[in-house]
């Protein structure tokens, strides 16, 4: 079996450079590649384009890269849970491309699946469709959307084996599987790295073929953005 294991985040991120385009999994702070983000901060590379559904909070997730002004452009569906983001955006330091969430997800999948473009109804008649081809199918209007091009995808999984097969947990799955398919180099960090044969082949969410590097992550904080609970009765 093809072995994808690298020692740590440092080794996993070999080859990242200023000006590259990255995909980063996660929805809010749920399922984000914490170790890879930390390593990107350490490396200090700049002028990055980040494709990620959200942009983290001030002191966590992609907010850490924003603080150090490493990001030139964000491609997201929902941002601005953090003040530094807002400041940079309003001052024009940061470019922001806002995309409907389903279009973002499907464009990631298309990238990995060799589909260069597809039609979606989302955004028709809005500024999202400006300058894009539109077409009617069965009486309904659709917008043509394109695949992305990302040098690296950073993905967080729950369990992964040495061949790169992945299982995600709960809603931490979100964008991770499509981004795993889409990176020219896909780097995965896992909570638990296991030997081949330990995962049921029938229950793998992302087959190892999409993965170039996998490593055992550490020190997961898994911060909760909105802790909503019902009191113990």
């Amino acid at each position: 079996m093809i072995n994808k294991v690298v020692k740590n985040a440092k080794e996993a991120l070999e080859g990242v450079e200023n000006g590259m385009t990255f995909m980063l999994g996660g929805f809010g702070l749920c399922g984000i590649p914490e170790n890879s983000i930390s390593e990107l901060v350490s490396l200090g590379i700049t002028d990055l384009t980040c494709i990620s559904n959200n942009a983290g909070v001030d002191d966590f997730g992609l907010g850490l890269l924003l603080q150090k002004r490493q990001i030139k452009k964000m491609i997201s569906s929902y941002v601005g849970e953090n003040d530094e983001f807002e400041r940079q955006m309003l001052s024009g330091e940061l470019e922001v491309d806002l995309i409907p969430q389903g279009t973002l997800a499907e464009r990631c999948r298309a990238t990995g699946a060799g589909i260069p473009a597809f039609f979606t109804p989302a955004g028709y008649g809005t500024e999202v469709a400006e300058g894009k081809e539109t077409r009617e199918f069965n009486g309904k209007m659709y917008v043509l959307e394109h695949a992305f091009d990302a040098q690296f995808a950073f993905v967080k999984a729950w369990k992964g084996d040495t061949a790169g097969n992945l299982i995600f947990k709960g809603t931490a799955r979100n964008f991770n599987p499509m981004m795993a398919m889409a990176g020219k180099t896909t780097v995965v960090e896992v909570e638990e790295l296991v030997e081949v044969g330990e995962l049921d082949p029938n229950q793998i969410h992302t087959p190892g073929i999409f993965i170039q590097r996998i490593f055992q992550g550490k020190d997961y904080e898994k911060r909760i953005e909105q802790r909503t609970v019902t009191p113990k009765s």
């Binding site: 929805f27 809010g28 702070l29 749920c30 399922g31 559904n53 997201s76 569906s77 929902y78 941002v79 601005g80 849970e81 807002e86 955006m89 309003l90 922001v96 806002l98 409907p100 969430q101 389903g102 279009t103 973002l104 997800a105 499907e106 990631c108 999948r109 979606t120 109804p121 989302a122 955004g123 028709y124 008649g125 809005t126 500024e127 999202v128 729950w158 995600f168 947990k169 709960g170 809603t171 931490a172 799955r173 979100n174 964008f175 991770n176 599987p177 499509m178 969410h205 898994k222 911060r223 909760i224 953005e225 909105q226 802790r227 909503t228 609970v229 019902t230 009191p231 113990k232 009765s233």
Partner: protein
Amino acid sequence: MALSKQQIAQRIAQELQDKWYVNLGIGIPTLVANYIPQGIDVEFQSENGLLGMGPFPVEGTEDADLINAGKQTVTILKGGSLFDSAMSFAMIRGQHVQLTVLGAMEVAANGDIANWKIPGRMVKGMGGAMDLVASAENIIVAMMHTNKKGESKLLKQCSLPLTGVGCVKKVVTNLAVLEIKEGAFHLLERAPGVSVEEIQNATEGNLIVDGEIPEMKL
């Protein structure tokens, strides 16, 4: 008297039908889950990858890996399922979700909706709203009838950047239930004690009042 947010949610819950899959937006729509009529089964979809969403977890059992689209910790009911974002929007775009309830800044008499962007202000993004309104067969907007300045949010034409065109079929506000068809708001029900005149005054878009308008039953 005008409805409270809870009551708006309560009224919208009456629109739920047996065996419907429903996506509830952030804010008032979320409250709809508290008022599911007896005897019907509905299932809630959260676009971040969860079907069969349950109530908030009991204190101490919350899981960072189980949140809803509002980033709140939630639970999953027996028979629920978890999936990725592409699958989630396949459900939405493919019209497998029967009802979307969401908030709005403006709704127009032609069914247009604006709820994501105010020019000149910080723009946070549309999230899944554009996919939802472009896809759902049934869209109910839950909102206050007027904005904080007292201006109508039910307009001839939206002034803000659109989220979707010609898609809203029903609006439930603190004052009324209205159906949108043929380019007009059709008044279906009044909030208890609210007069047709009050609703008329708070509605900028063309309002059709056909016959006696009943009060909502809550």
